[in-house]
């Protein structure tokens, strides 16, 4: 009968997606937020406490932290956002962070302040299409021009910029032109994410891609991305491994239960923003309790509990599908990813 005391060794990095507010000045049709009133939003002092809890966990696990500071629109809490960013700059436990914003509220003074943030990796903006009418049909009139102006300003100040494109039926063919536009604007990286009809987006369910469309879109991104030299096409997402399981530059295991948590505006902790199952509150519970005691996380960590096609897949150690998409489609976060197009051979023995 013996036991040993040890430290966790989960790779080298732990990621926090931190929604410091739910308030937003835009109303994008596909948004995963349902309400924008930011009820029970953490105070500035509580944000600082939340930050200290993150640092405590990183220190204990001897992991380097990364974060996305986001909202809602984080510039609606401008001073809190800059204070958190500065705390991350001064922390030995955080390596870098991104600020995820719609860009519409960034002033010239903000641009100067952003350049002074030492650990800011990128400012991430969202653009849905290289075509103004398509982008603005989702993000609102004027959004396209405003975003491009902001990208231009950010680049003029020497900041790294990335763009997120959420793929729906209306923009599924636009990726090559998107890359052309972003390369012209000297954007540093572009990422794509599948649309999950949650929150406000639940009213446009029919905009979600089918399995066949998802396959074609991923192939389009992959074929564009592997040739692209001007801009990094980020393909570290579940399902990309289906395109080339031997290419380590594409595909990634869903981070739920592995090395990431989402902190909401009121401190609620989700496994992932798109898997909105509360597993604790950072103010009341800290990080350790939800991380160690959540049945949701433990069941997802156990790959033998993954069901359906995902559970039978030989790529399970590499991919695991998107647990949030599985939850949306099946009501079961252990279910199969409905967008996976891989044919699974079932043994008849």
């Amino acid at each position: 009968m013996e036991y040993t005391r040890e430290e966790l060794t989960q790779n080298h990095e732990f990621y926090f997606q931190w929604h410091i507010t739910e308030k937003c000045n835009l109303r994008c049709k596909h948004c995963y937020h349902e309400s924008y009133n930011s009820k029970d939003e953490l105070t500035s002092a509580q944000l600082d406490l939340a930050f200290s809890k993150m640092e405590q966990a990183l220190k204990k696990w001897n992991l380097k932290g990364s974060a996305s500071i986001t909202g809602g629109e984080p510039f609606l809490r401008r001073e809190d956002m800059f204070r958190i960013a500065t705390m991350m700059d001064n922390s030995s436990h955080f390596s870098y962070y991104d600020i995820l914003t719609n860009g519409s509220l960034i002033t010239d003074e903000d641009l100067t302040r952003l350049t002074n943030l030492s650990s800011l990796r990128r400012v991430q903006l969202s653009l849905e299409s290289p075509f103004e009418n398509i982008n603005d049909s989702i993000r609102g009139p004027g959004s396209f021009k405003n975003t491009l102006e902001t990208i231009h300003k950010l680049k003029c100040y020497g900041l790294q910029v990335s763009v997120m494109m959420t793929v729906t039926k209306v923009n599924q063919h636009d990726f090559p032109e998107m890359v052309e536009l972003l390369a012209k604007e000297k954007v540093d990286a572009v990422a794509v994410e599948r649309f999950i009809p949650e929150g406000s987006g639940s009213s446009i369910c029919d905009m979600m891609l089918s399995k066949e469309e998802t396959k074609r879109f991923y192939e389009l991104v992959y074929n564009t991305g592997i040739k692209e030299k001007r801009i990094r096409v980020l393909m570290h997402r579940p399902l990309f491994a289906l395109l080339d399981a031997n290419d380590s530059s594409v595909g990634a295991m869903c981070s739920v239960g592995n090395n990431a948590l989402t902190i909401m505006h009121d401190g609620t902790i989700y496994p992932c923003r798109r898997l909105p199952i509360a597993i604790g509150n950072i103010i009341e519970d800290g990080i350790f309790k939800p991380w160690y005691d959540s049945d949701v996380l433990w069941s997802i960590r156990n790959i033998n509990e993954i069901k359906g096609k995902c559970g039978k897949c030989d790529l399970l150690p590499l991919c695991r599908g998107c647990r949030a998409m599985a939850y949306w489609a099946n009501g079961d976060y252990l279910g199969e990813d409905p967008h996976c197009w891989k044919e699974i051979k079932v043994s008849t023995n």
Partner: protein, 102 residues
């Protein structure tokens, strides 16, 4: 020593235990400090027992002997060691005493 110990043993409030039988891994976690203990199956069995049914060491030992083929003297010695370690690490605690059944 143990046969005279009437203390009721419980899991500390900030300790959670977890297992993955498929890969035969067992853990105890301190949810305040983040301390993480890797257990063997027997240590886990003891903690699971204490967690589900707090009792004296004799109670736990009795159930253990019913569940595993092991001699009393050997089990008792191991129990003393592991219980002391668990107490020292703050994984379990003593809370109250069992009343004599008379």
């Amino acid at each position: 020593m143990l046969e005279r110990d009437k203390s009721i043993y419980k899991l500390e409030d900030n300790i959670v235990i977890r297992k993955n039988d498929d890969i035969k891994q067992y853990w105890a976690f301190n949810t305040d400090s983040g301390d993480h203990y890797s257990l063997n199956s027997t240590s886990y069995w003891i903690l699971e027992r204490i967690s589900s049914e707090p009792g004296t060491i004799d109670d736990v030992l009795t159930h253990f002997l019913q569940s595993f083929e092991v001699g009393y003297e050997e089990a008792k010695k191991d129990f003393e060691e592991i219980i002391e370690s668990f107490l020292m690490e703050g994984i379990i605690k003593k809370e109250g005493e069992k009343k004599d059944e008379s």
